[in-house]
Structure formats: C-alpha cells, structure tokens
Amino acid sequence: MSEHHHKETFVTKYIFSQDHKMISKQFLITGIFMGIIGVFMSMLFRLQIAWPDKSFTIIEAFLGPHQTDGVMSPDIYLALVTIHGTIMVFFVLTAGLSGTFSNLLIPLQIGARDMASGFLNMISYWMFFISSVLMVVSLFVEAGPASAGWTIYPPLSALPQAIPGSGMGMTLWLVSMAIFVASSLIGSLNYIVTIFNLRTKGMKMTRMPLTMWAFFITAIIGVVSFPVLLSAALLLIFDRSFGTSFFLSDIFISGEVLHYQGGSPVLFEHLFWFLGHPEVYIVLLPALGITSEVIATNSRKPIFGYRAMIGSIMAIAFLSTIVWGHHMFISGMNPFLGSVFTFTTLLIAIPSAVKAFNYITTLWKGNLQLNPAMLFSIGLVSTFVTGGLTGLVLGDSALDINVHDTYFVVAHFHLVMGISAIFGMFAGVYHWFPKMYGRMMNKTMGYWHFWITITAAYGVFFPMHFIGLAGLPRRYYTNTNFPLFDDLSDVNVVITLFALLGGLAQLIFLSNFFISIYRGNKATQNPWKSNTLEWTTPVEHIHGNWPGRIPEVHRWAYDYSKVDENGEYIHGEDFVLQTTPLKDGEDPS
C-alpha cells in the first residue's frame, strides 16, 4: 500500500485522519485533556470534604458563581462528584484507554494495514470529540452541570425542581452520552471486524497477544451492553421532555403533584447497571491486557497460563453481563433476585483470582527489567488485588446492606477499576510511546511519577475503607451535621493531602509526555526487545504500517528466554519475534 502514498494535507493527516495511528493519538490527547479536568475536580471536592468551612482562593477562582467567599455550594459539590465520575469512567478510562490502545495496537499486533474501516474509525473519534465538547460545555451552564451522581438515577435526574443541575446541565449530559455511546459502538464494531478478518498469515486466534484478546472481548462486551445505556438515556430524555412516565410515578414536589403515573426508577437502575457493570470490565480488561503484555516482555518470560488467561477473560466477560443486580440489592427489587446476583457476582472472583495468580507466577524467576511501564503494571496487580478482595464484602448481599453507598464502596471501586485501569493506561503510554511518537519517554521522571502516584493512591483509598466501615455515606457535602462522624475528620484531612499529592504528581507525567514528544531520545525499532508484530514496523510512521509485504507469523507472542536442552537461547537472544520461523526440532509452545 506504500506505493499509493498519496500526498496528504495538514487536514487529512492531523485532523480528519483515517490512519489508526493518528486516531489513537487523537483519542489519547483528548482523553488526557478530559483526565486533567476530572482529576482537578476531585482535588476541589476533596478540599471541601477535608475543610468544609474553609475558604480557598482556588475554589473562588474556578467555581465562579457556584461559591461564596471561596466555599463551594452544596449543589456544585454534587455536580463536581457527578462530572468527575462521568469523565473518569467514560471519557478517560473507556475512550481514552480503549480508544487509544485498541486503535494503535489492533492493526499493528495482528498484522493489518489499518482498521477494517478507516472512515468509521475517524467518525468514531469525532463523535467522541463532539461528546467531550458537549460535556465540557455543560460545565458552564448557568444552573450548573448534571449533579444527580454519575449513575443519574431518576427522578432526581429527571426533575429540575429536585436539583438545579437537572435542567440544561442534565440535557447536555444525556445528549453528550448518547453521542458517546454511538462513538463507542462504531469503534467496537470496527475492532471486532478487524480482529476477525484482517489477521496476517499465521496469526491464529490462539497466537494473538493477550492485549488483542482483551481488546477483542472488551469490544464485544461494549456492543452487548452500551446500547442498553443508550436506550435508558433516550427513555429518560422522553420522560424529561415529552411527558412520558417510564421511570417516574407518584411524585409530589415543590408543592404540586406531577402527572407521572406507573413508571419505576428501579427499571432505570436495571437498564443503567446492565451497562454500568460490564462497563467496569470495559475499563479494566484493556488495562489487564496491556499489563499481560508489559509484564511478559519485561519479565523476559512467557505469560504464565496463556490459555487460562484467555479463558478468564471470556469467563469475566460472560459473568459481567449477569451480575448487574449487585448494585441494587437494597433498591427494593425482589430479594430472591438479590440471591441470584450474589451467586453470580462472587463467581467472578474465581477468574479474577486466576488472573492475579498468573501475573504473580509470571514474575517468579523472571529477569525483571524494571522500566516505568513495568512498575505501573506491577502496581496494577497490587491495586487490583487490594480492591478486588473487598469485592467479597460488597458482592455478598447480606454484607452489602450495611456498606452500600458508603465510602467503603468508593474505596473499593477506585482501587479495583479506577487506579488499576489508570495504571494500565500509564503502563501502555510508557510502553508504546516509542511506537506512537518515535521517541522515548524519560525514565527518571517515569520512576518518580510511579512512586508518588502509588503512594498517593494507597494513601487515599486504603484509609477510606475504614471511614466507610464507620458508616459514613458517600456524596455528603459535609459531615458536620453528624457528631457521630466527628472522629473521621482527621482521616479525611489525611486522605485529601494524599489526593492533592497524587493530583500534582500527574504534572510530572504530563510534562514528561509532552516534552518527550519533541525532545525525547530517538527510539530504536524494538526498544523493549519485544516479540510482537508492532515492533517490526519502521520507527517512522507510514500509511499501511509495513513498507513491503505484511510479515508472516510463525509462533505465539511469548517465546521469551526460550532455551534448548543445553540451556542456550534457541535463537541467540532472550526474545524471538513472532515472525521468526521455527528451527528444526524446536517445540512450538
């Protein structure tokens, strides 16, 4: 395809590009930008939680009409919490993570010239861009952005009388999310079709790197569950604007009875969580896929239990679609359903445990190259275990009753899907930066970034479990009305200090990222001595990825440190590219 390397203008190359490598960069930069907003918001509301009555010039500076003398209003507090959740879950960890790495890696790792449809891929990015713009615009609406929590349960999200953010802010939120879902669907379909159809010769499904398996299954979960969120959003738009009663019934507010009859908010909860729970795995699986690749490469060892890993990904994906009810144990649904969802939920612990054990075994007796990407992957395994274990408490309906919607939940899901997924994303950025920009990120800054971030992450979320066990509900503007919780205020101050530290540490990453694009050391073709196909492409990006023919694949992706009976490396080095043919008498692994 290099022969028709037709002339590209600035617009077709950098803006309306159909090249998957450029689109992945667009996703990443947009995701980083949204991430800055999301993390900054969390720093603002952490200030409020730690020092409820104190005046801060930074709050005065950024919250304008929503604060008085540097103290934020209760409404904007809820709005910040809501938008922080929305941005981090959808815009950073779904689009920013999946969008970036699926786009970059799928064609490169399976040996394809580009995505199945470059045009749809471009559309997918631009819909994501529009939805990001709408979400940012909603921050500037007079009554404030959506503030019913990221789960936007009606009636609170349906009635502007109930909370000011449910007016124009909520409308923009819903439109933005509807477009986001469309973008995500188009992207996912493209990923699935590409992986099915465009694998190079010899790239059997069972030879694909685990990153490919993770992205592939993630895309399938996305296609199954995202449309349900779209339908929930559309029905909610109908209830809000056209007087239908899908989710509303028997409401008396601001001195009048509303006309809604016969709907149920519980129905919305079902629809929301039918996406909402798989969404956790849409966020997490790509991070785990990246980790599999990074840990294997940097341990100079094959990933332990390749087939078990694929099996676990599939099991997690299947189970993830039948556990949504564990968010609703006390929603008023039939208690029998609670039993069923407890059972399926705790089953997920098994494939998750298998994955964690397999990562640890991969480290065992390795020759660990502790690059920044490797540190973040090891960090991911740690936070995934810490956060995952408390899932045994929350997934058990009987125990969930008393910790539901407390800070215990906040600590659990931030560790298991928030921190873990963001660590996976960082690992991916450090590892594939040379593939994206042809330069290396700075190692020393990467190390500082990792150690400060993991310290801050545990400093924030480990103690948070205990204030949850003390019964402190989440989403409280202040706890000062409850003397019962007075003893938690010191812990909250410590948490906030760590949160500020963690937020500021990201400046190290941002500088490293943007400076390295221009000034990083030049990358070699295969800097991490990795086996996979993307490292056989030239450092300089070309349309179509490989200058000549697409290489043929002869083995799986994990022939690291393969030795013959004398203990010598079979191919002379501790890695063997997937394109290297088997030697006479070599066992295919």
């Binding site: 009635l159 990933i303 054990f357 660990l368 090891i378």
Partner: protein, 335 residues
Amino acid sequence: MLALFYVFIAVAIGVSFWQITRILNLRSAIATDDDNHTQGKLFLVFMAAFYAMMIYCLIALNVLMLPESASIEGEHEDNLFNITYWLIGVVQFIMQFFIFYFPYKYRGKKENKALFFADSHKLEMIWTIAPSIVLVVLIGYGLWQWNNIMDLSDAEDPLIIEVYGKQFSWDVRYAGEDNALGRGNVNFIKGINTMGVDMTDLSAADDKQVREIHLPKGRKVIFKFRSQDVLHSAYMPHFRAQMNCVPGMVTQFGFTPKFTTEEMRLNEEVIAKNLVINKIRKEKGEDPYEFDFLLLCNKICGSSHYNMQIKIVVEEEETFNKWLAEQPTLAEVIK
C-alpha cells in the same frame, strides 16, 4: 483571572521540567541493571511502608468502626463480616508480599536468564479450586443470612412503621391499634396530612404520625418505606439496616432491636468511640456528644442530602407502649 493565575503556575511547573529533561535525557531511556537494582530495592522499601500503613490502619482506625450490631438479625451479619474481613486480610497480606518481593528478588541482571515456564495445569487447578471452595462457604452463609433478613413473612406480631422520605426530611407513621397502615398516595397530600394518607381508608384513622422514631427492645419491627419525590435510602447503620425509598412503590425491611439507647451508651465500643469524638469536639469548643441511634439518607437526593436525618430511640417495651399511647391518632389530628 485568578483561575488563569493557577493555570499559569501549573504550566510553569511543566515548563521547568523542559530544562530538567535536557539533563535527564543524557541517560538511556531503558532500564539498566543499576535501575533494576534501585527500583527493586524501592519495591522492598515500599512494601515495608505499605505493610506498616495497613497494620496501622487495622489497629488505630479500628476504634472508628461501627459498634456491634444493635439488632438481633445483625449479629450474623457481624459474624459473616468478621469471617470475610479476616479472610481477605490474610489473603491480602500474603499476595501483596509476593507482588512486591518478586520485583526485588528477580530484578534483572545481564548475566541472568529467566525461566521459560509457560504452563502448569496442577498450579492452575489449585488456584481455581481453592478460591472456589472458599467462595462456596461464603456464598452459602451469605445467602442464608440474606434470606434470614429479607424474609419477613413469618414475623410474629411485628410492629409496623412507615417511613416516608422527602427532600430533605423524614416523616414517620405508626400503624396504630389494628397494626395496619392506611393507604398513602401523593394525591392526598394536603396541609397537615404531609404523608398523603387516604383518610377514607378504614385502617388510617388509628395511625399515628410522629416526629421521632421510637422502637421497643426485643420486638420485631417492620419498616415500610415510601418516597414523596426522588430516591432516598433509609440507612440505619447501627442496626445493619438499609433500604431505598422509591417513589411509586413500597419497600420494606425488618429487624429486632437488641439494646435500648441507654444500654448502647454503656457499650464498651461506643464509649471508646465517643471518647475520641468528644476529645475532638472539646478542642473545637463544641458541646459533648451523647450516643443516639440515627436514620440517615444514603442515596443522593439533592442539595441538602447531607443533612437528612431522624433520631431513633430504642426503649423497653413498657416505656415504648406508654410513649405510643400518648401520641394522637390521625383521626384526632386530621379532621
């Protein structure tokens, strides 16, 4: 303007790195044996700090946790929680050790070779089956307990109380002599009939609307929850009880109070927790706090969500009966 100032500071910090990287980039961007050595050691240091932090939290923050269950049904819940808590604690301590120790132990060296170890069915069977067995036990106990709490059909002579959530307060109604609540609907809300009780319903006349929840010790209480406007959640942490209040439907939850408020105030864990609380309150110059049971809203419901609470008083059955008898019936109040 001030916002621009903060953005400027952030950018300035970023730009200062521009100069630093000039020097840092003189080194290779790929980990060398020296880096592996340093980072491996840092993993050990971090592990030590992490374990110290976990142990500190487990011991020092223990006093913050909720005191023992004040409901009979909650005893099993505490039991199940303790089992789960210790189990995940032990697993956490073991697994984190390997996660942080291996990077040090197997830190890369030029002369070392990694072990080609791609599969072991035996190992994989072990760590599939071991968690499965543990989970079967946990699920079994959990489901038994869940059934125990949620099945209210066999309660003998329960006390029936309705809790009505609204932005941002709670209304409470007792079922009265006939122990049956009169029908309620938002269409009947008018004047002092704030709970929307249908006064034409015969069971409504003897119902009693009150300002504070009183519960008799030792008698099963069944709460019926309704909401007037948006979702609320009635959370009674000391009783291990919580249920959402949903507009358009009635939800329920039941438990049997085990201690009176007075007895709970003499509970060791409560006393220990209150010591901490009152020390802090004294420093801030606030009145000392005395323990009370609470029902608080635990589902985001609007601006004043953070202040939607009602006191619960648990007392001996006689005192409770006396108190209830003094409350006027709806028929007396709503003419």
